[in-house]
């Protein structure tokens, strides 16, 4: 029994609930997956080519810990022009291995043992786990469909204690597709200031908003820059998931502390990913982000299609204004989200992710990704209809 060697603090963190569905789906043919969490576009050719050129030129060495300066400069320019937040390339940007690494090291830097981390949920699966890896205490703040899954200031305030230290804010949201309008964000900012909270703002989906909405960054609000970190990356809007490239931006003292963990554990992100990302931003700047717009427009079409389909088949679906997920309500089927997804997969070979995988408030919903070929979506809708008819 080697398990006695495993640190109980790690053993106590459960594996991600979505893993099981991956294993079942792997045994089936003819599966249509709405369970993915990444774009269905390949990285634009010019960006891939930058990585190829870099390899051909023999750029196979480490980079500086913080990431190559031209990339940090482009990131700063990008955030300034698109999200009205200002950082200094030399000292306030750290290039990471995906936004995932940024979240991990941010929480390790900010959280002392026993500190509480306020996490609006349903949410991306790693915030609770990374909090626990940092020996902090995750405190769920529920959000609900009737409020468009926005974080209500009163719900947040009700969970603030003297131990509260960090708020993790992630809008547009994975899994709900919810966004946070500016006026509500201002009230969250007031609470953060009043209770001296630091806000880790995961903005990985910030580019993917629809119907003319633009997600403001909480770091851009008065008094918030000093207590905020912007975490983002290239996976979603730039379709670069496999490159594993993200970044964090925050005041220099915070970035310096994050860089300390990063330099000992990671050293630096892949050089090829960094130059590819640099070119993605540079080209975006020169073309008014034409590739990002093209992909966003394509997601938007399928978003409308999916939301209408779910509502028509009797699974009420609030209209997601961001990311690439719909989060329909399945409660009236009498199944919980895990049973629903498991039976749907086994009976109709369609993969969806149970809402409960993203936190207790996700129960009663399923996450469906519409970054899937339109023809496949239409077949999936027919299969889900058949599944519902057979219940």
């Amino acid at each position: 029994m080697s398990s006695r060697f495993v640190n109980p603090a790690i053993a106590a963190v459960p594996p991600s609930a979505i893993r099981r569905f991956f294993d079942i789906a792997g045994t089936m043919k003819d599966v249509i997956s709405l369970g993915v969490g990444e774009p269905d576009f390949v990285t634009p050719f010019a960006v891939r080519n930058t990585a190829i050129d870099s390899l051909l030129d023999g750029e196979t060495q480490y980079t500086t810990n913080a990431g190559i300066l031209p990339l940090r400069e482009e990131i700063v320019h990008y955030l300034q022009t698109r999200f009205e937040v200002s950082y200094v390339p030399d000292s306030e940007v750290l290039v990471t291995v995906g936004a995932s690494e940024a979240i991990d090291i941010a929480l390790r830097v900010l959280v002392r043992p026993g500190d509480e981390v306020l996490i609006p949920e349903p949410c991306y699966i790693s915030y609770q786990a990374c909090t626990r890896f940092a020996l902090g205490v995750p405190v769920n703040v529920p959000t609900h469909a009737q409020n468009n899954f926005e974080l209500l200031p009163e719900d947040l305030e009700a969970r603030i204690t003297p131990q509260s230290r960090v708020l993790v804010l992630s809008y547009p949201s994975n899994p709900t597709g919810a966004v946070m309008p500016g006026e509500r964000l201002e009230r969250i900012a007031e609470l953060a200031i009043r209770h001296d909270l630091f806000v880790v703002c995961d903005e990985i989906y910030a580019e993917l908003c629809y119907d003319g909405f633009r997600q403001p960054s909480i770091a851009s609000l008065p008094g918030m820059r000093e207590r905020s970190m912007v975490v983002s990356g290239f996976s979603k809007a730039f379709a670069m998931t496999g490159f594993r490239l993200g970044y964090l931006c925050a005041p220099a003292e915070i970035v310096r502390a994050c860089a300390r963990i990063h330099q000992y554990t990671i050293m630096c992100a892949s050089r090829q990913s960094q130059v590819a990302a640099w070119n993605a931003l540079r080209q975006g700047r020169e073309t008014d982000y034409a590739e990002v717009s093209r992909m966003r427009e394509s997601y938007d079409r399928r978003r409308r299609l999916m939301v209408k389909a779910f509502n028509e088949m009797g699974l009420p679906c609030f209209e997601p204004k961001g990311a690439f997920y719909a989060f329909p309500d399945i409660r009236h089927t009498g199944l919980n989200s895990e049973q629903f997804c498991e039976r749907l997969l086994k009976e109709q070979h369609v993969v969806c992710v149970p809402g409960s995988a993203f936190g207790p408030s996700g129960e009663g919903h399923i996450r469906c990704c519409y970054a899937t070929a339109t023809d496949s979506l239409l077949v999936a809708f027919e299969r889900i209809k058949a599944f519902l008819a057979g219940l």
């Binding site: 979505i18 997956s33 369970g35 993915v36 269905d40 699966i125 079409r301 409308r304 209408k308 339109t374």
Partner: protein, 163 residues
């Protein structure tokens, strides 16, 4: 061209067989609006035709295809456009382009047999008084046309479930 027209065109260019109703949902417009835009695009000659991209090799209809580079001498009152109008009339001609570079016109031709294609060049194209030279290259294999890659299975390389 306005934004709505552009969005309709982009969607049609991706797949022109989507039912009108579905197009309306995907574009967030109503059906009448989409129909009206398509109507206008057709009337204005922006949309000329709706055709499938066919892999004829698989359809077992054998055609010989060639690209012909043509040099012409445009004469007074008889410019490139007039030459092009003459050439357009030949039914073998599938595509015709005025080019920059070392020759003037590029003709894409298709005929059921090599003999018929050769006859087109020698008996119909070359005798035109303005044509001063031709260079014919046969298409051996088609890899991609109008952005569509032939003989490639679209595969989704993504994990079926990811966070």
């Amino acid at each position: 061209m306005n934004g709505h027209q552009k969005r309709v065109l982009d969607l049609l260019n991706e797949n022109c067989r989507i039912p009108l109703e579905q197009m309306a949902v995907m574009l967030g417009m109503d059906i009448q609006e989409v129909a009206g835009i398509i109507d206008t695009l057709e009337k204005d000659g922006i949309i000329l035709s709706y055709r499938p991209i066919i892999n004829w090799d698989k359809a077992e209809r054998n055609m010989v295809e060639a690209m012909i580079e043509v040099k012409v001498t445009p004469q007074r009152d008889f410019g490139f456009d007039a030459v092009a109008r003459r050439i357009n009339n030949f039914e073998e001609v599938r595509g015709l382009y005025l080019m920059s570079g070392t020759y003037d016109l590029l003709i894409q031709v298709a005929a059921p047999t090599l003999k018929e294609l050769a006859q087109f060049v020698s008996e119909r194209l070359s005798p035109l008084e303005t044509v001063t030279g031709t260079s014919t290259s046969f298409v051996l294999k088609r890899y991609k046309q109008d952005g569509v890659v032939f003989d490639r299975q679209e595969e989704d390389r993504r994990l079926s479930v990811s966070p």
